[in-house]
Each structure stands twice: as C-alpha cells, then as structure tokens.
C-alpha cells in the first residue's frame, strides 16, 4: 500500500513537471535503470548453493536538472520490493562562488576513494569489493547526509588537484551504539585530496587520498577511522582500445569500547586491519570489455585473519550504456573457511538521456 502510494506520488510529480514544462519550465533529465541478475554459487553456508537463482535488484530513478544559473539538483530514488527510498538527493553550487569553490549539500554517496561515489551499475564488474563493505560505514555504500566544500588548487598547466572536506551526519558509523532511540547523532568528517594529470597522449592518471572519522559508540565516544589511498591509470592505445588499472588501499582503525559490568570501568581497544583491491579492465570497440580483479584484506576481528578473492569479468554494451550484459566469476577464499565460487550474469538496462562517461 505504501509502495503504491509512493509510486502514485512520483507519477503525479512527473505529470506535474510535464504540465509545467508547457508553461516554459524545463523538465529535468529523467532516467530509469533496471538490473536483472542470475547467479549460482557453491558456498557451503548457503542453503541455495548449486541452485541457479534470479533476482531483480533495486532499480534507480534519477532526476537531474539545473536549478538556476548557479546550481544543479540531483535525486536518485532506489526502487525495490520493499519500497522506495531516497538514495541520493543533493544540490551542487558550482558557479558564482569565489576562487573555484564548490558546495554540495544533501544526501549523497560520499567521495571516499574512487568506487564508493559511483553506483555499482557503473562499475565494469558486478559486485562491490568486499573490502569496501568491510571497512567503509553503511550497508550498501558509504552514503550520508551532509555538506561538502571543495577547492581546486590553482596550479599551472592541466594538472587538476582538488581538496574537499565533508561534514556528515555520521549515523552510518554508529555500529556499536546500542540505544539509537534517543538523539544519538554524532557528526562524522571526511577529507579528500585528488589529483589528475596526463601521462602522454590521451592517457591519464589519478591519485587520491581519503580519510574519514566518525563515532561508532555514542555512549563511550569511541571512534572509527578509515584512511584510503587510491590510484587509477587509464591507458588509451587508440580511440577504440582502453586499459584501466585501478586500486585502493584502506586502513581501518576501529576503537572498541566495553564497560566492565562489575567495576563500571570503560576500556577501549583498537582493531587496525588493512586491505585493498586492484582490477584491470580492457575495453575495445567501445562495447566489449574484459578484466580481472583481486582483493585481499584483514577481517576486523581479533587475530585479523586475511580474506581474499579473485575474479574475472566481461561485458557487452549494445548501444552505449542503454543495454549492458555482464558476466562475472568470483572466488572468495576466507581465512579459515571454505572457499567458494559465484557465477553471475547481469543485464543492466536504462532509459532516458544518457550521460557522458565520467572519468
């Protein structure tokens, strides 16, 4: 019922926009992205192992438009069986501010590293890396309510160097907080420094440094910090042949607080696991891509056991990003557990104005 009501509201909103456009107000760019996935795994812990499964993953409904000469607005709704939620909704003030400053405010996928800000359907492979899920706050992504101020350093030539700072609500950090019923929000902070430069011809390189910190237990003020270093190299051999090499290294510092029930004393200890991923993705003829990926990371638990996974992936785009077929093999090798394979076939389809490909 709630789902139907939300759908009706969105339809009414679209109708209202279309009606207003006649009076001279532009309709925003509207896109819908669907994701169908079939998969099979041999995970001994999965009751459905060795049985093919099919799922229609959450769809995305995207609205994007200039709000005025100074700002853009973007909304991304995630539509799934459970209902509709605002995955992102933010405005970007990109003109009119002095010295190349930019302000972003709202709810958004936080710019930690290279992969977190992007939606998974824009990755060349299907699944998000486990190390990102293990170290970054949030369930499906590090996605928070907050504001960002970014500044592009005035450097000579075409070198792009940007510093950004975010102040976030911080709720996705509160994993150790037992009682969230009261006002328990504690802000989180994020800083990023990203640098982009050409390396000859049409090839380029990007190097970034990210750091974030938030409170995991509001009662004891214990903190979680993540530091990340990322690098991406794009080698363009011809207009039709491109190789991307990308990797991120992350270091987690989770401060765990416990209260001794007898003495009432609070003790804090730190878990400091590290890990990262690398992948290579080769695209040819603009429509075919093939690649390999690897990740290795320590679990955030005592003893810090090493988990790792390896995989290969391939894709075919029918016409740009409108229809995309992807296959993925992934082998996960948990330390002390049974390794298992997952085979996935995914179809991503989108309608609406297709965007330029963001680096």
């Amino acid at each position: 019922m709630k789902y139907s009501l939300l759908c009706s509201t969105i339809m009414a909103f679209l109708f209202a926009l279309a009606t207003r456009s006649i009076a001279g107000v532009g309709i925003p760019d509207i896109s819908v992205i669907g994701q169908l996935r079939t998969f099979l795994n041999d995970d001994p812990a999965d009751i459905n192992r060795n049985r093919g499964q099919i799922s229609f993953d959450e769809s995305e409904l995207v609205f994007d438009a200039a709000l005025n000469p100074y700002a853009r607005g973007t909304f991304v709704f995630a539509v799934a069986d459970g209902g509709i939620e605002v995955e992102e909704g933010y405005l970007t003030l990109n003109r009119g501010l002095p010295n190349g400053l930019l302000v972003k405010a709202g709810k958004y996928r936080v710019g930690f590293g290279k992969l977190n800000p992007a939606h998974p359907h824009a990755y060349p492979f299907i699944e998000r890396f486990r190390v990102l899920a293990a170290y970054l706050p949030g369930d499906e992504a590090y996605n928070e309510i907050g504001g960002q101020l970014s500044y592009r350093l005035p450097l000579p030539g075409d070198l792009s160097s940007t510093l950004s700072a975010d102040v976030l609500q911080g709720n996705s950090f509160h994993t150790d907080t037992l009682d969230m019923s009261r006002d328990a929000s504690r802000p989180a902070l994020l800083g990023r420094w990203s640098n982009f430069f050409g390396i000859g011809g049409e090839s380029s390189m990007e190097v970034g440094l990210s750091a974030t910190q938030g409170v995991n237990n509001v009662d004891f003020k214990s903190k979680t910090s993540v530091l990340g270093v990322d690098a991406k190299v794009k080698l363009r051999f011809s207009p039709l042949k491109v190789l991307v090499l990308q990797g991120e290294f992350l270091a987690l510092d989770h401060e765990h607080a416990t209260r001794d029930s007898a003495t009432g004393n609070v003790t804090k200890d730190h878990l400091r696991p590290v890990g990262g991923y690398v992948f290579a993705d080769y695209t040819t003829q603009k429509r075919y891509n093939v690649g390999a990926k690897y990740e290795r990371f320590q679990r955030a638990e005592s003893g810090k056991p090493w988990d790792q996974s390896v995989g290969v992936f391939a894709g075919l785009a029918l016409m740009e990003e409108t229809t995309l077929f992807r296959v993925n093999w992934d082998r996960f090798m948990p330390d002390g557990g049974d390794a298992y394979n997952t085979y996935t076939l995914q179809v991503v389809f989108s309608m609406g104005p297709h965007k330029a490909h963001q680096f």
């Binding site: 970007t92 009119g96 190349g100 400053l101 592009r152 070198l159 049409e202 603009k286 309608m351 104005p353």
Partner: protein, 294 residues
Amino acid sequence: MKKFTLLACLVLLAVHSALAKITVGASLPDLASIASYIGGDRVDAFSIARSTSDPHSVEVLPSYMVRVSRADIYLKVGLSLDQWADQIIDGARNSKLRVVDCARGITILEKPTGEVDASMGDVHPEGNPHYWLDPRNGAIIAETITEALAVVDPAGESTFKANLAKFQSETTSKVETWKAGASSIPNKTIVTYHSSWAYLCHAFDFAVASKIEPIPGIPPTASHLAELVKVIREGHITSVIQEPYFSDDGANYLARETGIKVLKLAPSCSDTRSESYFDHFDRILDSLRSVKQP
C-alpha cells in the same frame, strides 16, 4: 619612491590588461580554428576533443575542467552532440564563462519529423549536428563567434569584424574552387560509416548511397554488409568514408569484397590553428578526388 612604485604597478597592470588574450575553449578543433581566425592575436583557442575523438562521447576529464576554468568563452556544437561539454562546463566552476551555441542560424539537415525514440538508434532529435562540415556554415559560425568575442573584448570588435569579412570572402572563393574540384569526380555517389558527412555531401553535391551502420550507433550485421556489397557493385561506387573512431571491420570487408577504396577521414580538422578549418576541406576533397575511377 612609493609614488613611483605605485605608478609602475599601475602601468604594468594596464599593459598586462591590454595584452591579455581572450581564452576560447571549444568542443571541437573546427570551432576553435574559426575562433583563432576571427580573434587573431587577441585570442588563444583550445579544443577539448581531438580530430580523432568521437565527438558524440568525449570522456569528461578533470584536466578539461581546469582548462575551461580559465576560459572566457566556450563554443558548443549543440544539437545534443556535445552533451558531455555540460559536465565540463559545470565542473569548471567558472562564473565568468560565456557559453555560445554555434548551431545558431544554421539550417539543420536530417531533422526528424516524427517522434524520436531509442529504437531508431542514436538519433539526434534536433537534427544532424555535424554542420561544420559545410564550409558555408563555417561562415555562419564565424559570425556567431565574432559577436561573442566583441562582447568579451569590445576593444577588439573592429579587428574581429575585419577578420570575419576576410573569412567570409575566403570561404566564398574556396567553396567555388572546391566545387569545381568535386565536379571533376565522375561518380559522386559514396558510402559512409555514419551520418557525419551529410553537410559535406550537401555542400558539394555528393550522394550517400548507404551507410555502414544500419542504424546510428549500431555496428553493421552480416546481412547489412551483404546488402551494401550489392549496392556498391550495382552503383559502381568507388569510395567509402570511415571515421577513425568507429570500427573499420565493416569498411575493410567491403574493400575486400568490392575493391572499394576506404578513406579514413576525421570529421574534424587536425588542430586549432586559424588555417586548419580550411585545410581540412582541402584534405577531404583531395582524398575523394584521388580515388581511381573505373
């Protein structure tokens, strides 16, 4: 001493302001080349896309945003061709940037009359956007650029107008020469990969028998290539124009089957020099004339 220093600073500032050039960014080298011609010494022009880039899908790089952040004017092709430029312009964070749509005043070809949807492929709803490939449109683009330059640099208006008159007169005389050269080609029916060449064909009376891509944005199927072989043989067609950023497998197949000459030509001129725009037509028409006729 203080007064002298202050005076010297003011003089230096005035000299710097007088010598400072207008920076013009453009989506394509063709627009930048025309801007270089009109602006002369008063303008520094650069292009985001290279001549070998696919103008439909240029990758948005932070370095492009940095370059546009320093520009006074940005020249867009428009007609949904360079939608990627919007992201560069937004990312440039440049409040003083004047964005100019160079499609203004152009008579657009292949404008769809009915409803347009993606089942028709990558069709541009506003019509074919490759209008710079008719040199007469170059003169219209030059007018648009002249107006924009005069707004940003009023002191240079007379120079820009004089250069515009020179550009228009050179266009008129060159078009006559190019037309005469093109008329010497016995069979003016050609095959192209994409609709990039509609304006060139319109300007110099070439006919396009068929295209290698059956639908814009979709590569050829075997049956479509077999049909093309028939068309080429029946029409005694000697040339196929192939853009460097599309796969040349289809064109090479046609060459093997029919002996047709594959002309690898970029729809954009090679660089942003003022003479580049005209040189490009010389090169294209020379290539078409150089094909041996049966």
